[in-house]
């Protein structure tokens, strides 16, 4: 597919853990069974905002079968400091408070106490015997109202941050982001067409099928052993250690297979609780979240208010763009508005830009990243305005975007110049795709397009490759495998070593067994851990050349390696033949790689969507969907397609039927998979994919992470399609049937 002469890269081997996944043998968090294991249950606040006056656990503690009860009093409360917990830098006290509420419950579902017992039913019954005296407070539930001077304070000690600095502005604004390019006043003055619109999106959840689960053993050797559902074994180790005030090396995390994460399984919720319970009762303790808690007490994604103003000349050049955006981040600041601010105008070269973004706390669960966090909400707004602008100018939506497309050297809103990117290539692939020009006949049908971007991250990864006597290799790495990365990483090593993918045995190791490796997220894994594997593989080759040189009595410089064969002069040996001679030439060959690359170029994605709207029910049916994305170099095309299809389906759900429905008191009304409507097989059409390859220059194989950007375009593309279908533009997510009907009726009035 890439046109390069790769043997392994670009092929589609069956993943190494495939048999385990289809036979039920793969071990997920809640599958852990340890001798003497007890079960935990978490008691949670029924109030969205309340002071906690008193907690009495005595009746629970004396309930038959109960082994231990913990509250915030069992958490250390040493001097506060800022910690970097992957998703952003925040005070350690916030991380601890989210695990167990101390003085205030900050959202309905906020953990207040935890119980361990012989069986999960007993633990739940005992939790019901814990007496908590709450003093309810007025909850803050709307992002704009939360920003008012007279709004109730969610966190009394919160001060607004600006570029990492605390101001003394108290209130509910956690952070202010501002990006300025050029002069928007001048830019708008030059514009002949201006569009300004407001948008709202509602909180949604990553919706992973597997609830969080953690098993902890506070061992008599003083170490805490964790088996947990996490995207990052090392980040979970760090977070748990800091929250419990332990040296990091005293915690070992064994990452289990993960049943979906999408950013929602970076933060620790249960690990410290299970550890504290284990310390008290001397047994391993397993806590698994019920589905209701997954919705109410983990980290959904912010709802938003976004205002976008864009101006363009009659020739189609955008001259200015101004954005005002407010993201509700739940009970603690999250920085996601900052990500949205970087991505909102990312596909465009606009000389005059002003973006003001606000991260605002409210009495809802503390938000967490969801696949390109903050970007989807931003694109919904910007891509709708771009669509409207193109229409007012009488230009085709893709041609308008091409005319203003970001390229290498274009300045992003935060000032950074793009390196090599594939924005234009993605747009051209959309324009040239048969879907874009296909006739779409019938009433109430329309086609829409939209673009999306994620900057992707680099960060650190470690890898060790050891050679087996039979010529295969073991590859140990520390990246939790969410969807098949152990194979995409193994393939990169196989490419270097001249091996077939099945001759590389990848192992995802625990935190004692491999060097530090950053979280599986940010679209970094195939990119950075693959890079570490490439480095380790080259280290193996270097060492094996020395062994061949020893056997042939030549200088190592005189040994070459190509196509799986070592050569010098007229002598040659395959990798497997040399592997058999390692013991006598110096012992085992173990290669290592460790990388910490800077950020990568990022991935652009686009969507073409056909919809049909039923004007009587408001139901929107997605008839046809094409996802286009720049993968740099697709290591395993099936895996890349899978990411594009998965993100597209999530985008469809976000666009049309997913939402947190709130009571006036701040309780989620639909905290079940019945009423929180994730797409079923009936809700999405076949999803066609087009992989564009604009190699990332700094990666050895040109890889760009693809996990995230694909979720960004669908809501805007669907909104644009609905407009063409029925002549109304929806500016609120989700575009559920009642919202569509209201829009139709208000247009008719």
């Amino acid at each position: 597919m890439s046109g390069k002469p790769y043997r392994v890269i670009g092929t589609r081997p069956v993943r190494h853990d495939g048999a385990d996944k289809v036979t039920g043998r793969a071990q997920f968090g809640a599958d852990v069974r340890l001798p003497g294991m007890a079960y935990g249950y978490v008691l949670r606040s029924p109030y969205a905002h309340a002071r906690i006056r008193r907690i009495d656990t005595s009746r629970a503690e004396s309930y038959p079968g109960v082994l231990a009860v913990v509250t915030a009093a069992d958490l250390p409360s040493g001097p506060d400091r800022l910690v970097d917990l992957v998703e952003g830098t925040l005070p350690l006290s916030y991380a601890r408070t989210n695990v167990l509420a101390r003085d205030k419950a900050l959202y309905k579902g906020h953990a207040v106490a935890a119980v361990a017992a012989d069986n999960p039913h007993v633990a739940e019954e005992a939790a019901g015997l814990i007496e908590v005296e709450y003093e309810p407070l007025p909850p803050v539930l709307d992002v704009l109202e939360a920003m008012r001077e007279d709004a109730p304070r969610v966190l009394e000690d919160l001060r607004m941050r600006q570029l990492g600095e605390l101001t003394d502005k108290a209130g509910n604004i956690g952070e202010h982001f501002r990006h300025v390019l050029g002069d928007v006043e001048k830019g708008f003055a030059e514009a002949e067409v201006i569009v300004e619109r407001e948008f709202r999106t509602v909180m949604v959840h990553q919706g992973y099928l597997e609830p969080q689960s953690a098993t902890a053993l506070w061992n008599q050797d003083g170490r805490v052993y964790l088996w947990t559902t996490t995207q990052g074994a090392f980040s979970a180790r760090e977070a748990t250690a800091w929250i419990l005030d332990l040296p990091v090396s005293q915690v070992r995390v064994t990452p289990m297979e993960v049943g979906g994460a999408f950013g929602g399984k970076i933060r620790v919720y249960l690990e410290p609780l299970a550890a504290l319970l284990s310390r008290k009762c001397g047994r391993p303790v397993q806590i698994t979240m019920p589905r209701r808690d997954v919705f109410e007490a983990t980290g959904p994604t912010p709802g938003t208010y976004i205002r976008v103003k864009m101006g363009a000349r009659a020739d189609g050049r955008i001259t200015a763009a101004q954005v005002w955006m407010a993201y509700e981040t739940g009970a603690f600041p999250s920085g996601q508005c900052g990500f949205g601010a970087i991505c909102i105008l990312a596909p465009y070269d606009i000389p005059n830009v002003l973006i003001d973004g606000y991260d605002v706390v409210v009495n809802k669960p503390s938000t967490a990243p969801y696949r390109a966090p903050g970007a989807t909400q931003a694109a919904f707004a910007a891509e709708s305005v771009v669509d409207e602008l193109a229409e007012r100018l009488g230009m085709d939506p893709i041609e308008f975007r091409l005319k203003n497309a970001a390229r290498e050297g274009t300045r992003r809103a935060d000032g950074l110049k793009y390196q090599r990117i594939g924005c234009v290539e993605v747009l051209e692939a959309m324009r040239d795709h048969p879907h874009y020009g296909a006739p779409l006949e019938g009433p109430n049908r329309g086609r829409g397009v939209a673009m999306g971007y994620w900057f992707n991250i680099g960060w650190y990864s470690s890898c060790v490759i050891s050679v087996n006597p039979d010529g295969t290799v073991n590859l140990v790495e520390g990246s939790v495998d969410l969807s098949g990365t152990r194979t995409t990483i193994a393939m990169q090593a196989a490419e270097v070593l001249g091996l077939r993918p099945e001759q590389v045995h990848p192992i995802v190791a625990d935190t004692d067994s491999i060097g530090p490796t950053a979280v599986t997220g940010g679209s970094r894994t195939t990119y950075a851990t693959g890079w570490a594997a490439w480095e380790a593989a080259h280290d193996v080759i270097r060492q094996m050349k020395q062994r061949a040189a020893l056997l042939w009595e030549v200088d190592p410089e005189a040994v070459s390696f190509d196509g799986g064969v070592f050569r010098s002069g007229d002598r040659s040996m395959t990798f497997a033949e040399l592997a058999e001679r390692l013991e006598e030439t110096g012992g085992p060959v173990v290669g290592r790689g460790a990388v910490n690359p800077s950020s990568a170029g990022g991935s652009f994605a686009g969507a073409i969507v056909d919809v049909e709207v039923d004007p009587e029910t408001g139901k929107v049916t997605v008839l046809r969907f094409t996802s286009v994305q720049d993968a740099g170099t697709a290591i395993h095309p099936t895996a890349v397609e899978g990411q594009m299809q998965g993100g597209s389906a999530q985008g469809i759900g976000w666009a049309l039927h997913e939402e947190y429905s709130w009571s006036p008191e701040g309780a989620m009304l639909n905290s079940s998979l019945l009423d929180y409507r994730e797409p079923t097989a009936l809700d999405v059409p076949p999803i066609e994919t087009v992989i564009v390859e604009v190699p990332e220059p700094q990666h050895p194989f040109g890889v760009r992470g693809v996990g995230e950007a694909n979720i960004v375009p669908p809501p805007a593309a669907i909104a644009n399609a609905i407009y063409r279908a029925i002549g109304v533009r929806l500016r609120l997510l989700p575009m559920k049937p009642s919202a569509v009907l209201e829009a139709i009726w208000s247009k008719e009035v």
């Binding site: 999408f262 920085g335 970087i342 000032g415």
Partner: protein, 87 residues
């Protein structure tokens, strides 16, 4: 000479200047030299031996993992940005 982009919250210290040319082979050297000309800048960017926790530095469009140690070329562009991640 490398060009440093001053983020909006710090432009008050540089008399409103958005870009400044300044010598330096590493980000640390750039900041030292900037602070000489515009006192107070260093304190806003650096804490102890490192960049402040919320801040990252981007050199030529790539967000560095090495902070003050990152090398800077003769024609490099340097930006200070809020730390970001992904999901």
């Amino acid at each position: 000479m490398p060009v440093v982009f001053i983020p909006p919250p710090l432009q008050g210290l540089t008399g409103g200047r958005i870009t400044l040319e300044v010598e330096g082979a590493t980000v640390r050297e750039l900041i030292e030299n900037l602070d000489r000309a515009w006192p107070g800048l260093r304190e806003r960017l650096v804490e102890g031996d490192r960049l402040r926790p919320h801040i990252r530095v981007a050199v030529d469009g790539r967000i560095s993992t090495m902070g003050l140690l990152e090398r800077v070329g003769a024609t490099s562009e340097v930006h200070f940005v809020a730390a970001v991640s992904g999901g």
